[in-house]
Symmetry: C2
Subunit: 418 residues, 2 copies
């Protein structure tokens, strides 16, 4: 079978399953999820054996240590995957929720019912846990999932899918609900992206290159996550101790994440009091600080921050520091150089806090809290399938609700259009 027919066949199976999944009860889905968690733990030796095939191949290909680490499944990670499924089982089912039900002047009641989206394609890179995480979230929200993982993880992903599908089958959920594109052919993704009308939504998870390629080639709606060039602005009216803690946490707690701070903006009125100690604290933590000219006058050990540095997502212990005249300059800087991901102000001034909240157009805007908190769990969504930097359908952390849509429902008593 050629790759085009293969992908079409698989997607069609998913579509048929999506119709069934939309109608099954919360209890039915939850039982399946909990059994899936158990099966992953029971079959950990099989999983680790299959994972070893991928790791050996990765070593032969000379992949980096970091890549191999991301690829690796061990007992702890299998336990975490299983735990993730159990947590999703415990979340409220979004499907069937009725929203905004109101009576119209002609007596009919109009509301919206939350329903699954249908078939969701997940395109991802090396981490095999995405296979189980995405399946759990899609299943709970009543969607069929089409999984397309990286070729370097194909044995691990296939093993996880086999386990999940076995449980699905013995619980009356058809195989198409968890569809796996089991091929190394790179054309498979391109073929899937053409299947408008069968696949309803595509979520790419991975580096910027992958996401751009998917977005440019897709005829299907795509929920994207581009880079996070995140800022913390320390206002002249900040509690400087709080500012120090927030900036340190935003940069150092886990620098390789999209919601870590890349640029610290400091009000010139408090720069002398705040910066020298802050920079020295960063240096002690191993952060390379790149400063603007004014910053370098106060902390001579800083490197020079060049214009292009302010656009960069370091994902590392590197930080730009810029002294600004006031909040308005900070707002202009964030608008020009930022990526509309996560931005924070530290201030005790109420008016400035409110203005910053309104004016900064990012997926999450923080007053007096660390940008690292932009996360589905932290925000109370219970789980997260990614953070959207799009403005359509979902923005910021995406949980179960973002994997659904609504339809209008009308309860009438014979109403006609006049």
């Amino acid at each position: 079978m050629d790759i085009k027919s293969f992908v079409l066949k698989k997607a069609t199976e998913a579509k048929v399953s999506a119709g069934e999944l939309a109608g099954i009860s919360s209890e039915h889905k939850n039982i399946a999820l909990i059994k899936m968690a158990g099966a992953l733990e029971n079959k950990k030796s099989y999983l680790i054996k299959e994972n070893n095939k991928d790791i050996s191949a990765a070593k032969r290909k000379g992949l980096s240590k970091a890549m191999i680490d991301r690829l690796t499944l061990n007992e702890k990670r299998i336990k975490e995957m299983a735990q993730g499924l159990i947590e999703v089982a415990g979340l409220p089912d979004p499907v069937g929720e009725i929203l905004k039900m109101r009576q119209r002047p002609n007596g009919m009641m109009v509301g919206r019912m939350r329903v699954p989206i249908g078939v969701i394609g997940i395109i991802y890179e090396s981490r095999p846990n995405v296979t189980a995480d995405s399946t759990g979230l899609c299943l709970k929200a009543g969607n069929a999932v089409i999984l397309r993982g990286g070729s370097e993880a194909i044995n691990s992903n296939r093993a996880i899918v086999n386990i999940l599908r076995d449980v699905a089958a013995s619980n009356g959920i058809s195989a198409g609900a968890i569809t796996f594109l089991d091929t190394q052919d790179r054309q498979a993704v391109m073929e899937m992206l053409k299947l408008e009308g069968i696949v309803d939504l595509v979520i790419p998870r991975g580096g910027e290159g992958l996401i751009r390629a998917v977005a440019e080639n897709s005829r299907i709606p795509v929920l994207k996550h581009y880079k996070g060039v995140c800022h913390v602005f320390v206002d002249r009216d900040a509690d400087l101790k709080m500012a120090e803690d927030i900036c340190f946490n935003a940069k150092v707690q886990r620098p390789g994440t999209c919601n870590a701070m890349e640029t610290m903006l400091v009000d010139e009125k408090i720069a002398k009091r705040f910066l020298p100690a802050m920079v020295s604290k960063f240096k002690k933590a191993g952060v390379t600080v790149k400063g603007c000219n004014k910053t370098r006058k106060m902390a001579a050990s800083c490197q020079i921050a060049k214009e292009e540095d302010f656009y960069r997502e370091y994902l590392d212990l590197i930080l730009n520091v810029k002294i600004v005249k006031d909040m308005d300059e900070a707002l202009r800087h964030i608008e020009k150089y930022g990526s509309a991901h996560s931005d924070a102000i530290v201030t005790e001034n109420y008016g400035k806090a409110m203005k910053f909240l309104r004016r900064v157009d990012s997926s999450a805007v923080f007053v007096n809290a660390s940008t690292r908190l932009n996360d589905g769990y932290q925000f109370g969504l219970g789980a997260e399938i990614g953070i959207s930097t799009d403005k359509i359908h979902a923005r910021g952390p995406m949980g179960l609700e973002e994997l659904t849509c609504t339809k209008f429902i009308v309860l009438g008593g014979g109403q006609l259009r006049e």
Copy 2:
């Protein structure tokens, strides 16, 4: 200037204006809208003069009477355009609304703030009132609009835009907020569809050909409205008088609309009692009835409904009638032949009503009401920029809220990520 540079320049002007519009007050927007309405009425002779140029050109080109009618502006239609803007001014401003604000265990408050989407491109065909309607809705929701109307209406659209922009300018709203692609070059649309990162959303309004062309060529999210193959299912437990009224209204009240019924499904248990009188009522109203074989036995004057007829959107006084064994057959028919637009059941049976509501996956599902009621005004949205048959971002009638997105806002007191 080549067409690519022209479109880029215009879109960039819109982007700059969008930043300003996001921050202006509801009162400011409402005053501008009301003044725009007044200006349209005051300048009606200019509008009619410019519109006459388009009508003369259309007549020279031999466009159909229906096309010329849709193109025509007269006093009544200008009044309606103005009235539309006044109504939009009267609607609540969606921008700034705070949703789902909740305190998290660490004490921070997390919610969502409704904000404008940014720059919205509207691509439409002959009716010039879309120019004013779209501008009003986009402006109220804080978005800059890029208008690309049909070339046959270019003089009318330019005149409307001139009037609206004059009012905007004298009210401190920059010209880019109402951007008009004043060119007959068909490439302009294709260039706009490439401007990912500048244009945030595209809404095509018109025939299926236009919408498909936009969807296939766009790198920007598109909210689409495909065809409406709408059904009414008359269940064996229906109030047959109510069923007759609903079916008649759904087909005859305005057959050229997307939410008019194209196929009537009748439960075989009540077909003999219901069909003969219903068909005769349709015939008296000039409806051509195409029936399945069983239908033709009860109403011999019907034409034959062929398989392909059940997929058709007639937009005319033509109706398919099919007798089904029970609701399950009706559900299967709707799933196979329908377009997921508007579908209704007529029944007094509670269980079947609930099952139909859940099982039919359409933008609006009705119990005991006419499909013709699938409309933003009827549903209480106040206004409508179209009906989406998509499942992403918006589904069904789209009002002001659907022209916004949300961002997460966090009110903290020094919270860090642990």
